[in-house]
Symmetry: C2
Subunit: 408 residues, 2 copies
């Protein structure tokens, strides 16, 4: 089962190595793939960690353990299994995760809780413990690999590997963030999950790292949607080794903290956009900007109602400037909205203002805009100062083909 590369794919960027971080990949054989499927990243002593996780109540064992252990703030290793999500597998699945944590901790001489594990793939099949044990055994002595190899190995049915990087000046010290991510909606019948990992050489206290990551998450990963479905395993982790030698960042009062937070946000935004660009069946990348809401959170909810509407997404796929469907989506969001103050536009051209179609509305530039790969939808609610941008892709025959046209 392979899908053509997304037309919105971008080349893997030049993602630098991070001091104190070494990625490795091996083949555990979780599936009949002729490729590596286990990623093992070692982290030097003193590495801080922060994380955000799925809000899905039926989350995996990996998510439960990660959510708990990230509170300790320290990490020494990351293991990512591809081909089996280990979700909905009860105590048997949990045993498999704990086995991996213990095996790695024993090798590194660290606390078991410093080993973070993610899994992605089929739901409902416990991760095979013997394959995991043998895979980890090989990984412990494997040669280092590139970020692109790691990005390919954490992928399941992604159509292209995804990485991002940014730098920031903290005082006189340049710090670097390198990151990889997998995800493309829930592209195959039993594959799900967005998994993202950020690595930085910056010295950052775990609490502040969490603050930066959580804030970035609100404006990036929480603002993308492919099909409104939420994986049971979504995880984004940030690791900071401190090897850059900057003055420790402990709060926004620390010199350089703003620049660092901006770089984290920048990388998260890049990663989030890459996931949308690999959305199943995606032909167009859509940015929905909502202004004039009663709050930023309200703007985000209205934006997501538009971005999740099958009728809006099929209209964009059909290059149809169907602003009536946007009106409908605004109205169903359940957030404060006043029909008679609502304005809607595409690609910078207003179609309706303050509740009325524009008498001199010229659809020609809008039609031209919709023919492109990058589409913008602008909505002004005319109520307040709240604003948000959310990103999604169009809904095409490709989505149906990927998700319905075969038996798993």
């Amino acid at each position: 089962m392979t899908h053509p590369i997304s037309p919105l794919a971008t080349p893997f960027p030049d993602v630098p190595q991070i001091a104190g971080v070494i990625p490795h990949v091996v083949r555990a054989g979780y599936k009949d793939w002729g490729r590596c499927d286990l990623t093992y990243v070692t982290l030097d002593q003193g590495t801080a960690v922060a994380g955000v996780f799925t809000k899905n109540l039926c989350c995996s064992n990996e998510v439960e353990l990660g959510r708990e252990n990230v509170k300790r703030g320290s990490a020494r290793a990351l293991v990512v299994n591809a081909g089996n999500s280990n979700a909905f597998t009860g105590y048997r699945g949990r045993e498999a995760v704990e086995q991996i944590m213990e095996q790695v901790a024993s090798h590194l001489g660290c606390a078991k809780q410093d080993v973070f594990v993610s899994s992605t793939g089929v739901i409902g099949v416990p991760l095979p413990k013997e394959k995991a044990r043998e895979g980890v055994e090989k990984a412990l002595t494997a040669a280092p690999c590139s970020w692109e190899e790691a990005a390919n190995t954490i992928a399941t049915t992604d159509t292209f590997p995804k990485g991002a990087t940014a730098t920031a000046m903290v005082g006189d010290t340049k710090v670097t963030i390198s990151a990889i991510i997998k995800g493309s909606g829930m592209i195959a019948p039993d594959m799900a999950t967005m998994l993202g990992y950020l690595f930085t050489d910056a010295a950052v206290e775990p609490g502040f790292l969490q603050e930066c990551l959580s804030a970035a998450n609100e404006r990036t990963f929480s603002c993308i949607t492919v099909d409104s479905d939420t994986s049971t395993s979504d995880t984004v982790l940030a690791f900071a080794t401190g090897k850059a030698g900057n003055t420790l960042l402990s709060s926004f009062d620390s010199p350089g903290a703003d620049a660092f937070a901006a770089a984290i946000h920048d990388v998260c935004r890049q990663l989030a956009h890459l996931v949308v660009r690999d959305g199943e069946g995606a032909q167009k990348f859509i940015a929905v900007t909502v202004t004039g809401a009663v709050s930023d959170e309200s703007a985000r909810k209205v934006g997501l109602a538009i971005a999740n509407s099958p009728l809006v997404k099929t209209a964009i796929a059909g290059e149809d400037a169907n602003w009536g469907r946007v009106v409908m989506a605004v109205g169903k969001a359940g957030e404060p909205a006043d029909r008679d103050k609502l304005s809607i536009g595409f690609g910078g051209t207003w179609a309706a203002r303050e509740g009325l179609p524009l008498a001199d509305y010229d659809e020609a530039p809008v039609t031209e805009h919709l023919k492109g790969q990058d589409v913008t939808i602008d909505v002004d609610l005319g109520l307040g100062e709240g604003r948000a941008t959310v990103w999604t892709c169009d809904l095409t025959h490709g989505y149906i083909s990927i998700n319905a046209d075969y038996r798993s």
Copy 2:
């Protein structure tokens, strides 16, 4: 733009005339359709009315006026325009509705507020007042028509006309309910809206009629979804002429009230199912039953999360017993759920019980079940006594073709 008749279509039933109710249809010419597009139903003096309306905040003028006027409890006429929804048309659209109300009220010698108007079709184009005036003029003297003709005339891109009927014994008096509905998701680019009308010869106080309709609505129209998108014009009205001569039904203490309420519920359920059966691209009719929830409302929300999940709907389209996607949808519903108490089945066969895949799960009967047109999904949350059934259709290439494969 015509679509093939839904494979789930059922023949129009034998819907009886109701004493005190006379339907008529004429052609106002709202669109280039060579068919009638204006439905006019007269109601004898003393007719009680009740209604439920869309919760979409960007609702049409018709909905705003209807919601206000239904509180008065009396009705003398119904006018339904097909081909133009008159939504998002500001004061100009409102003027058109008020013109129709005045024109009919003047002819019947009743209060303007006793005339109910609905419109369905393109959003953002004010209803043309001159066409409406001429259409109503013709309607006032038109010959009576059948319910099937009325059902065809209120339709827009429905692929088959929809009607339902039921009777109840109120004391020794048989009362009859006849009803028509239009809707099939939002099947064409600018067509939307579910419009349903129930007519009964029962003598019912408006308050109790509203109570029956609202209760039925919670379990029927509020439990169907085609694509999770909510029209700006959704309306269901119930009219009771009192011509059957039964003892007035004023509350559940009235003799026969339970039977009457059950008949209203029955008709609403029939109508709701018909809309799902005409869902755009529908190949399968899906009933999702959720039990063991903390409340009925919680069960309904979990059911709708499953029924609205594109991944669940495409799995059914692909005849794939993908219970992992159901787990995911339960978890994202935001309602109380415990992964380790969750059971999931298809067509009466459990695939997973209490958080674990069944060791002896036999997929063969499930696969056979999924090949049929009627699919059931059963979810037990294992938490309480709350239960609900919701209905939807699968998500197929037909949906994309209808909504994206052309310009409006």
